[in-house]
Symmetry: C2
Subunit: 355 residues, 2 copies
């Protein structure tokens, strides 16, 4: 392995690439990783020299606080390759800002912007062969921070590890999904950490999701914990409703993630002169809209899922099918969003970031 | 190292003990671990052969789900040594039951009872020198389960690791603590995971706790997320109020941990003919009781803290001192509880468990 120091970063390159072993046409989300990873340790009150090394297991004490107290946050991003082999990120500054918003809420140190972008760019340049051209192909990028200090007292750690790992992906949800509106379980509380990409938010959803999957549905649509009357988000996606020609979505709050795909869709809708209503959405009105035919579409949005249409929802014992018009908003939004991401369309909002 | 298979358990003993390097009189909570650890992997749909090995770091993929989605639960237990060098656990069956209640809520596989007790007993026999005699000395035992599968899809893992690590401790909180009643932040939602010892519940409390610590207080007393009018728990402790001669504590719920120390104290109070009122407790009534002098004590209870008296609480801008009588309930409960734990008093409820 070659061992170089670049811009205060230590780089150890992999001796050979694993890429020839990967079947890019048949790839499960998040199970295959590129040749390298980026890491940076926080100790003695500061972030130490960042490193890029071959992708490899961590050596970590069983008493590391992340295992006991869930002090861990993450981001999800994608890199796209255009026809000329240029690699692009989509609004990476928003991911950078959000991981630090999440970190702050979990009493973790914020990661420096220069380290984040320098690490990201160097890593993507090294592993650029892993970003495949073609519609829907992308490199999923997972920055995360974990509390690595070996001490099981229930207080913020003094030592952390920031990492970026990358995994080649296709679209996350392949088919339309059927969802159940939560009536008993809940995802987050006012004054809690629902707005953050905090690790614990996700594990808490697995069991209720498993219960609905046992009944033939795919995901839970989370409602407010107090009344279960307001539709909030889908756990790994924000959620949109089309009522006649209007797009409706819940406002972000301390319970709801400020999704980057969510706000991009809101902008794209406005660019297409579609009226967007950002306001609390009740279960009651969506059921009524489904009954009177004014509910035209429901879809989730997220980095992994991009845009994910919902074909049916269940509330109590009632199941409502969503009968979409021929030309859907979600289809248009997805196309326009991906055309910006893949450097096909004009980038009038300055969302693309060239590696 | 010797390498033995006992009762379907693989045992690799440490070559030498680290115990002579430990200053047992000056020990920070949870930073020093015994010579051995217990671990058992779940894969291919079942728990594999358990192992006891020298205490050592884990080798784990950076994509392990525990780092990303917080799929992790734990327990806290203690072992005590009596004057005749016998080692005792306190109500370990309750910890065993609870870790599986927590595991189920986080969509993790339950751990078999035989493996749990066989592992615990074998580990404690190997490391029995680490359980020190003397009032307040104990060996803190930390069973935990983490999602170890290397895959970052947001769904329950297929592979897990159950572990037990042990750390010698003295009492957790040394002085009386001052607390702030939560008015903005919250710990858990109805329908959430507050009742479980889920890792993510703890990290979510660190930032609000840090904020109150910056104002000279120690801990947050969590209230219900909806109204902030009901006192629930202290995050790592359940909470009790003595109003005149009556003991009052909130009922357990899906937001409040079913503490083993909590229920032991309720039983001890009854054994002492103290009236115990288990009902929702309002912030308003406790403030009024502080003002009219009927509030005699507030204390937290938990395995780590045992019983932890609270000397003052803040609500909004008001600070209330708790002026305790000479003979406190918490002092009596702690003494009686520890006398049972250390095999000094009669164990009339069958709480002790001999190793």
């Amino acid at each position: 392995m070659s061992n170089t120091i670049v811009n205060e970063m230590k780089i150890v390159k992999a001796e050979s690439s694993k890429i020839q072993d990967v079947d890019f046409d048949n790839i499960d989300f998040g199970r295959v990783f590129t040749d390298h990873m980026f890491s940076c340790d926080f100790k003695d009150g500061k972030w130490q020299t960042p490193e890029i090394t071959p992708y490899q297991p961590l050596t970590i004490d069983p008493s590391a606080r992340v295992f006991h107290y869930g002090q861990a946050v993450f981001e999800g991003m994608k890199a796209f390759k255009d026809d000329k082999d240029a690699v692009w990120l989509f609004r990476p500054e928003d991911n950078f800002n959000r991981i630090n918003i999440s970190a702050k809420r979990l009493a973790m140190p914020e990661f420096p912007k220069e380290y984040f972008f320098n690490g990201l760019e160097t890593l993507l340049k090294l592993d650029k062969e892993w970003v495949k051209k073609g519609d829907g192909n992308a490199l999923y990028i997972r920055p995360f921070i974990i509390a690595s200090e070996p001490a099981i007292s229930a207080s913020p750690a003094e030592e952390y590890k920031f990492m970026i790992i990358c995994s080649p992906v296709k679209a996350y949800y392949k088919d339309k999904i059927k969802v159940v509106i939560a009536e008993k379980y809940s995802r987050s509380a006012d004054g809690g950490v629902g707005f953050a990409k905090a690790a614990g938010n996700y594990a808490a959803q697995f069991y209720p999701t498993k219960l609905v999957q046992e009944t033939g549905f795919h995901q839970v649509i989370w409602t407010d914990a107090n009344t279960h009357e307001y539709l909030e988000e889908a756990g790994t996606m924000n959620i949109f409703f089309r009522i006649n020609d209007k797009l409706v979505t819940a406002p972000t709050s301390d319970r709801i993630l400020d999704g980057i795909t969510r706000k991009s869709i809101i902008q794209i809708a406005k660019d297409n002169n579609i009226e967007v209503d950002i306001r609390p959405v009740t279960v009651k009105e969506i059921k009524e809209a489904a009954k009177d035919g004014s509910l035209k579409e429901i879809f989730g949005s997220g980095t992994a899922a991009v845009v994910s249409p919902i074909s049916a929802f269940k509330h109590g014992e009632e199941v409502f099918d969503v009968v979409e018009p021929e030309n859907t908003y979600h289809g248009m939004f997805k196309r326009q969003l991906m055309d910006i991401q893949y450097n096909i369309a004009e980038d009038k909002h300055g969302w693309r970031y060239k590696i």
